[in-house]
Amino acid sequence: MSIISSARGYLGADIGGTFTDVVLEIEGQSFSTKVLTTYEAPEHAVLEGMHRVCAKARVTPHAICRIIHGTTLATNALIERRGAKTALITTEGFRDTIEMRTESRFEQYDLNLVLPEPLLPRNRRYTLRERIGANGKTLIPLARADVENLAEKIAEAGYESVAVGLIHSYLDPEHERMVRDVLLERIPGLSVSISSEVSPQMREYERFNTVVANAYVKPMMKRYLLKLAQKLAGEGADCPIFLMHSGGGIISLEGAAEFPVRLIESGPAGGAIYAAHFAARFGLERVLSFDMGGTTAKICLIKKQTPKTSRVFEVARSYRFKKGSGMPISIPVIDMVEIGAGGGSLAHVDAMRQIRVGPESAGSDPGPACYGQGGERPAVTDADLLLGKLDPENFAGGSMQLDMDAARQAIMTNVGERLGMDDETAAFGITEVVDENMANAARVHAVENGEDLSSYTMIAFGGAAPLHAGRLCEKLGIERVLVPPGAGVGSAIGFLRAPFSFEATRSVYMRLSRFDGGAVSTLLGELESEARSFVRSCDAQAPIGTEAKAYMRYVGQGWEIPIDVTDAEPAADRYRALFEAEYAKLFSRSVQGLDVEITVWAVNASTRKTTPAAAIPLGSLAPIEASTARHVYDSTLGYKVRAAIFAREQLKVGQLAEGPCVIIEDETTIIVPSHSAATCRSDGCIEIFKRDKVGAQPALALAVGA
């Protein structure tokens, strides 16, 4: 066994809910593995995965020169409430902000609604007499003696971590800093997070909740990250470690340990970066990334090869993924919709005799009925199996035998018999409903962003996505799908494509009628140097680019839209023109005669993205014949058709597989519908397209009516 020790390898590791995915890229080759996540000591799975891919690549861990890591640990700690003993210190009069939320019900018709509990119960929330006004001036000064008294109580109670969130602190952080300083003097080693650093944005509920979440997971994440670094170094991977953050960039280990709240949703962010990378390779300006796993589906818009970002999102939704049932976290994040639609999503029939699917999931235990582990309720995977989309003998690379009878029985008992449908129709009903749910989520997301999906290309990854992508595209009017190689470990591959980046934001209120160009230049300059220095601390050489955004709206509106003001002359007219153009694009027209206001400013600094080699254009395609076939239900036609079966590696560049056909690989199965065809691109991506759009060869006579 030859050991290459001088090689320069890059390791990506994504700790997910079920699996830890590890990818090693070295000398142009890629090696990947999936290890079951080890909850009690998450670093074990990372180490195990690292050794496996190193063995596959025939190198030692010394060959790794950089590790990029992403993890759901922070998210899980929030969902499962396993954080540190944490206190909140806030302004007198606002002790209950994080508990009172928006004072609304996220489900209008449920008399037995249960609101999610705040991360910190009321007895762990303390107040100080002080107040900053909306203009940033101090209304009530903070007395040091008050803080010292409170520090005594905090010390006595034995808190491990403290969050400080004061009203209007994003305008003047002095009081928050003083609280931190006094606490640290009295209690050295205490973990302290202040809202003006973690999330300097207006809106107290979101800001307080964000700083509380950060404080809550910080001790645990810090310990974990240090231990991971130590162990990796101990095993020979003595190289810099970086973390993927929710905004789609990477930050240093130290930055992550200080602001662990930024690691939430880092896995899905990696998926979006993975999709963006293939968008760049194929020169696609408009891409819909579609990531469907066992429990949820994530949909993200990627324009000009850049995933759309947002400033706030919700974590730990407690009620059927319903908006408002989680807790808001205001940090830069890749904007995506996540709905309860996955292979494990369970189906039932409701009072209107309608089939409903999800968000409840069979999970991995007992799993769908066809896993034969005692599951009695039908999951999407059961329906896929019955429709011929999955091969019972060849699931997960043949490692698992699927039980067709169990799937059929679950579907008939819970759906078919209740609606007077045969098994095939009931299974079709289930897949059709889950596909429609995903299509609706994608449509609403597109409308919210003023986009028309028919000009988009879909990039599908995650275990269940390639099974459903074809039908979803038909529903959305999308004509092209790419299924990239390594789709099963897409997020971890995405980590290796992410730039170093950091977004600095600040809430500074300004109306265009009272626009202060000098102040704007100063502010953007400050944000830029803050963001740049953060990125520079990760990478000493790479050129850094910056992008500035102002969040604007008409005075009186409640919804800001981000406007790119990079290099825009700081003048009211210029800003107004930029805003009105974007507003008209979103809402068909601008409004005359109204003043415009800016609420938040943001500067994002990042190193250049790696530019992938362009894909080689398709030449003429030669159809290939399959040696085997099976009957697969075609959702568009409404009956089973005979579909050819190919192994993914069988399909070579320049070959054409006519739909309906099934392309199988270890981690997933690709369904190519009738009237579509698939080919293999030079980089190994499978491309599915509408047959009539490419003028490809006439259809092979595979379809047989049922």
């Binding site: 209950d96 008399l111 609101l115 809106r203 009072a351 027209r589």
Partner: protein
């Protein structure tokens, strides 16, 4: 017409609901009115050609539930079926044919596909201003409440009526925003129309008749099945409101029959001289909403699912006010209706409905101005600030009430940091009000304290819209009442629950918003929950001892735990926030 499969019809029904949700989202993002964008005070729906509602977006306002279902029929009648053309847009703010007050504008757009009329889209939003006296209860008739727009054309075959637009602009305080909102309503219907068109194309349909029939048939059957499963019977309920100057009594008689549920308001107080009256359409909406929550929460709103709920009230009662009664603050009475209905329903369906809650939203509007000419020169300004706030909800049969959470309305509050940017107002306090939740086996949700002042150099008027001052939420099945609303200046000066009142420079308004009532006797509350409530400060140690019978050592042990930041061991403990059904 092809014979559509059941699966396709189901998918299309889902799609119709998604279409109206998209319609509503478009409105939230373009509206200027605070109550639309923050509170979700809007609705959107799709109708078949006959004007029957097929789907309605679930938004923050139950007040539009039936109103929307009835609205399009009024438009068809007034415009004339033969005068409906492609490109038309119709409009009204008629409180009796729309949604209950002049501040709500309803826009209806007929939808055409391949040249044929296939249905309608309608939407409603609460706008910033409609002229008149401004938003408040002070008017003596609807004529004083602002501009009255009868059902008419806003656009005729694609051409917007500019004369109408000029007339609106000339009659409202914020013409740009109001006209902006009207266009936003029209845009919202366009979004719906575009989505419907692509759906018809995708499914190769000519119209929505078949899917419409499927929706209506299934909804009717599901609703009737729910009603048929109930024990028939009749029961009565009543509710007292502070009213404006004199108390108001609302009375209901509820009958569950084999195939319908009827609610009649006979015996309710007559129309009030001030603007807290409710047109029948609004009364129907809240009565129906209450019944749907209790009996068929999962069945979507449409013409058929609402049909078995029959609501009636004698004319010229406060719940069936006729033109020209003033109706601007009809929500005060409307928001009390669900608790009134539940008083009766509890007698027929025990263990289903909650105890009484805070009820009406605790809204107030503040009009700030410079305290003096010198203050004005020093930069003091005028501003109008409207805020939404909530008391506690009533305890449920198996769950505590929710703290500071609206019911029946679904409003969201604004962050105080955002409110303070809209004018020189300072919210000094906004936090839970301990001991305000009615005691019981299940405790009522807590109300809140608020303290409102102005930046130095300003005085203000507060337009109060509070109820539950004299009549706090009542407990159910042995539960105690919630705490009443309290309002005063910080120097102790008493203030009224309703109406415009002056606040001098340097003074603050001290508000205590009501808590929800309790359910079941306090003696049956598990001890662990009493300990937890005490540790969290939801109840005082006096309440814990006097009402719940906690012993002195128990109370002391809670105190000791708090020093270490710990709650009492939960044991069999349950609370509103952590208990399953």
């Amino acid at each position: 017409m092809r014979n559509l499969s059941t699966v396709s019809l189901q998918v299309m029904w889902n799609r119709l609901i998604s279409v109206v949700e998209e319609q509503a989202q478009a409105l939230i993002r373009t509206a200027f009115s605070t109550s639309v964008r923050e509170a979700g005070d809007l609705s959107a729906g799709i109708y078949n050609k006959a004007g029957l509602m097929l789907a309605q977006a679930v938004t923050g306002t139950p007040g539009h539930v039936n109103a929307m279902a009835d609205a399009v029929a009024h438009f068809i009648r007034e415009i004339g079926r033969d005068d409906i053309h492609e490109g038309d847009i119709y409009i009204t703010n008629d409180p009796w044919m729309g949604t209950g007050h002049l501040h709500d504008i309803t826009v209806v757009t007929p939808s055409f596909y391949k040249g044929a009329h296939v249905g309608f889209f309608a939407c409603t939003a609460h706008i910033v201003d409609i002229g008149g006296r401004g938003f408040g209860a002070d008017a003596n008739s609807v004529y004083e409440e602002g501009l009255y727009i009868p059902i008419m054309r806003f656009a005729d075959r694609g051409r917007v009526d500019q004369a109408f637009v000029r007339l609106v602009r000339a009659n409202v305080r914020e013409p740009d925003q109001v006209v902006g909102d009207i266009f936003a309503l029209a845009t919202c219907n366009d979004v719906g129309h575009r989505r419907l068109t692509s759906m018809l194309e995708e499914f190769d349909l000519d119209n929505v008749e078949v899917v419409g029939d499927f929706v209506l048939e299934n909804s009717r059957r599901a609703t009737l099945e729910r009603i048929a499963a109930l024990e028939p019977g009749t029961a009565e309920g009543s509710m007292m409101s502070d009213g404006f100057a004199t108390p108001i009594e609302i009375k209901v008689r509820l009958t569950i029959a084999k195939d319908e549920i009827s609610v009649d308001f006979d015996g309710t107080s007559p129309v009030d001289p001030k603007g807290i009256n409710s047109p029948l359409v609004y009364t129907k909406a809240y009565a129906c909403f209450a019944l749907k929550c209790a009996i068929a929460p999962d069945i979507p709103n449409n013409a058929a699912s609402l049909e078995p709920f029959k609501i009636s009230a004698p004319e010229n009662t406060i719940v069936n006010a006729l033109h020209p009664a003033p109706v601007a603050l009809r929500h005060v009475i409307g928001h009390l209706i669900p608790d009134t209905v539940y008083g009766a329903l509890d007698k027929l369906l025990p263990g289903t409905v909650p105890a009484e809650g805070a009820g009406p939203l605790c809204n107030f509007q503040v009009s700030l101005r410079p305290a003096s000419e010198a203050a004005r020169k020093a930069g003091a300004q005028r501003a109008e600030v409207l805020t939404f706030n909530c008391g506690g909800s009533g305890a449920r049969p198996h769950l505590d009430g929710m703290n500071t959470t609206a019911f029946p309305s679904g409003v969201m509050t604004m962050p105080i940091e955002a409110t303070e940017h809209t004018g020189p107002i300072i919210i000094w306090r906004k936090e839970l009000r301990p001991d305000s939740g009615g005691a019981g086996a299940r405790r009522g949700g807590l109300g809140q304290f608020m303290e409102i002042g102005a930046v130095d150099g300003h005085v203000f008027d507060i337009s109060a819209m509070f109820d539950r001052v004299k009549y706090p939420p009542r407990g159910r099945r042995g539960g105690c009442d919630g705490s009443p609303t309290k309002i005063a200046l910080d120097d102790g000066t008493k203030m009224a629950g309703k109406g415009r009142q002056f606040v001098p420079e340097g003074r603050k308004v001290m508000l205590a918003l009501p808590g929800g009532a309790g359910y079941g006797p306090a003696s049956e509350r598990p001890r662990a929950e009493v300990l937890r409530d005490l540790a969290l400060g939801y109840i005082s140690s006096d309440t814990a001892k006097e009402i719940y019978g906690l012993t002195e050592p128990d109370a002391a042990s809670v105190e000791a735990g708090l020093k270490h930041g710990e709650l009492p061991a939960s044991g069999e403990g349950r609370s509103a926030a952590s208990t399953d059904k």
